[in-house]
Amino acid sequence: MQPILKVNLTSGEISEYIIPAEWEGDYLGGASLAARLLYAFLTRDLDPVSPESPLLFLNGPLSGTSGPTVGRFVVCGKSPATGLWAESNCGGFWGPELRFCGYDGMWITGKAEKPVYLWLNDGRLEVRNARAVWGKDTYESQSIIKNEIDLPGAHVLTIGPAGENGVLFAGLYCDHGRAAGRTGLGAVAGSKNLKAIAVKGTKKIPLARPELYVPLRSSANRALKEDNLSHVFHELGTANVVDYADYLGAMPKKYFHSGIFSGAEKVSGSTMAETILAGTSACHACVIACGRVVRLEDGEKRKGPEYETIVSFGPNLLNDDLAAITRLGELCDRYGMDTISAGGTLGLAFYLFEKGIINKKNTDGLVLRWGDVKTIEQLLHMTAHRQGIGEFLAQGSKRFGQHFGAEEEAVQVNGLELAYHDPRAFSGMALVYATSPRGACHNQSQYFEVDIGQVDPGLGLEFFDRQAGAEKAANVARHQDWSTVFNALVMCIFANVSVETVVRLINTACGLDWGVEDLFAAGERAWNLKRAINNRLGLTRENDRLPKALLEPYQDGGSAGYVPPITEMLEAYYVARGWDPETGKPTREKLQSLGLGDVATDLWG
C-alpha cells in the first residue's frame, strides 16, 4: 500500500508513515488495518475529544481502482458516543481522490489553535485557515472550500455545526451528502478544530497485477450491473426494501414499539420512484448508483433519503410524509449529524413524553406528538446547537435516557442507536447488534439479508429460518467475518459480487494467492482485534445485550409474538467464536491462533 500521511495539528509536524508489510498482509486495509494501527493508542483513559485522540482516514487495497463498488474509505478512532472502537465508512469520491494523491490514509492528531482545513494537492499539504467556513453547514462548506481551492476535481470532506458543537453523533460528509455518519467522529474532528480536508490527486493507484485486475474488474462490473439486486438498488435506492421489510415486520415503527404503521407504503422506495424521484447518483466508479436525486415542491433537485433515514424520520416517528423526511434528512446532512442516531434519540424523547416521563417543562414548552414534523425539525435545530433540550439530545439516547432516569428505554447498544432492522423479525440481527464492535450497527454484518435468503453459496453459510435461535450463532459469526473483509477493502455492502470474484480481485490487486478461507481468517483476525481493543477499553460480557424494547414482542405485524432468545444465542456465539464465556474476551488460544500473541499477552498477562 501507499504511505499514510500523518499530521499533528498542535505542532504542525507532517510525516509519512510506512505501513508494515506484515500488517498489510494480515489486515488488507480499511477498518481492519486501522484497528491494528490504532491498537496501542486507544487506551481506557484516552479522552476521545482530546488532542491526543487519533483520527485515522484509511482506504482499502481496492479503493479507487474502479472495481465493483470499491470507492469507499473509512474513518476510525475512539468514539465519544460509546467510549469504544469507532469506525464509519463513506462513499463518494473523497477516498479514491486521497489515493490519487499518493497516500492511502491520513492520520490526524493534535489540535489546531484556530479552526483549519487541510488541502492536499498530490503530495503537497497546506494547513489553511477555516474562518470562512467555521459555523457553515456541510453543503456550504464544501462549496466555499472548492471555490477557494479553485481546482476542478477536488473533493472536500467536512464536518458541520454539529461536529463543531460536539454533538456525539456528528459525522463527516463529502460529495454533497455522502456520510461517515456513525460513532461521532465528526465531534472528534471538531475537537481538533479540524473543519475539513480537501484532496485532489493525479497519481496512479498501484496494482500488483494490472494485466489481470483490469479485465477482471470489467467483467465483475458488467455482471454486477446485470444483477437483479443491482436493478433493485438502481431503480429504488436502498429504500427498495421498505415494502418487504414492512411485510415481514422488520421495519421499526413508533420507536420500536409498534408492529404496524398504516403510512409505511407512502414512504417506500417504490413510492419515491413513482413520485419525487428525478435521478440517481453514484459513488466513484459504481455501476449501481443507489443514490437518490429527488425534486420537491420548490422545484430544486436534492439528495433523496436512503432506507435508514426514511425509517428514522418516517415510521420510527410515525411520519408518512416522504417530502418532509427528505427535508429532515437534508437538515441532518447539512448540520453533519447521523440520521440513524438523530431519529433514534428523538424517538426516545417522543416515547418518554408519551409515557409522561418527560413533559413540557423538560422540552422547552414543546409538545412531542408522534408524526409532528415541525417539532421534529425544531428538535434537530436545537440538537445541532445544543440549545435547551437539545443539550441532552445531542448526547445520544443512552445519555438522554440516563438524564431522565429511563436509560433502559433507550434502544441502543453500548451507546450507539440501533439501525432500523428489527431483530424480532431477523433474529440474526440480535447477535449482530449485541456483539458489534461499535455498538448497535448493521454494517458489521447485514445478517438480515441472510435471514431473508440472500446467501451466496460460496460463503459456506447455512440457511436458517429468519426467527431461528441459537443454531444460527456460528453462521452469524462467519458472516461478521465476511463483512469485516468488506469493511477492510473498503467495499460497499450492497454489491452482490460473488465470493470467488472478490477473492480474485484481491489477489490480482494485492499480489496475493489467497483462497476464500484466507479471507475469512483475515476477517476473523480483525474482528477479534476490535473485540480486544474494546475489552481493553472496558467492555465485558455484560455489554453484549439487547435493549429492553427488543425483548418485548410486537402485538401485531409480520413479526408479532416473537423475541430472539438472546441468552441462548450469545452462549452459542461465544462457543463459535472461541471467546471466554465468563469475561467475553477472546481466549488466549484463539488470539494466538490468529497471530495476535501480543494482544493475548495484553488481555491475559
Partner: protein, 136 residues
Amino acid sequence: MAAIFPSLEWLEGLSEKLNSDAKYGQIARNWEGDICFVLEPSGPLTEELLYYLDLWHGKCRKTEILKDLSSVQPKFVFTATYDNASRVMKGELDPMQAMMTRKLQVHGSMAYIMRNVPVVLDFIRCAREATTEILS
C-alpha cells in the same frame, strides 16, 4: 386432474386456482400486469418453455404456452432454470430469495415487484397448491 409441473394442464389448473382462491383475490386485487415464466432447460427439462398469464385485479384473464416472446410484451418476464424453478415449486427455495441470489432473473419494474411482495408470495402459494406432481 393430474397437474404435473410443467404442463398445459398445470397452467390451466393454476388459472382455475387463481380465479377461485379468495385470499389471492384479496391480496392481488390491485395487481395489474401480465407475466411470462421462461423455464430454461436443466435437469429433466430438455427444451425451453414459456408460460404466459394475464393477471388483473386478483384474477387470471388468460393463459397460454408461447413459442417465443414475439407475440406478447408482458409486463414481467421471470427467467429461471428448470431446476431452480422446481425448487421454488417444492418450497425449497423462497421466491424472493431466488430473485436476490440470481436464481430467478426479473425483467420489468422492480419497483412494482417490491411494492407487491405479498402478491408474489401468494401467487407462488397458489402455484404450489395447484401442483400435484413435479417433473423429475
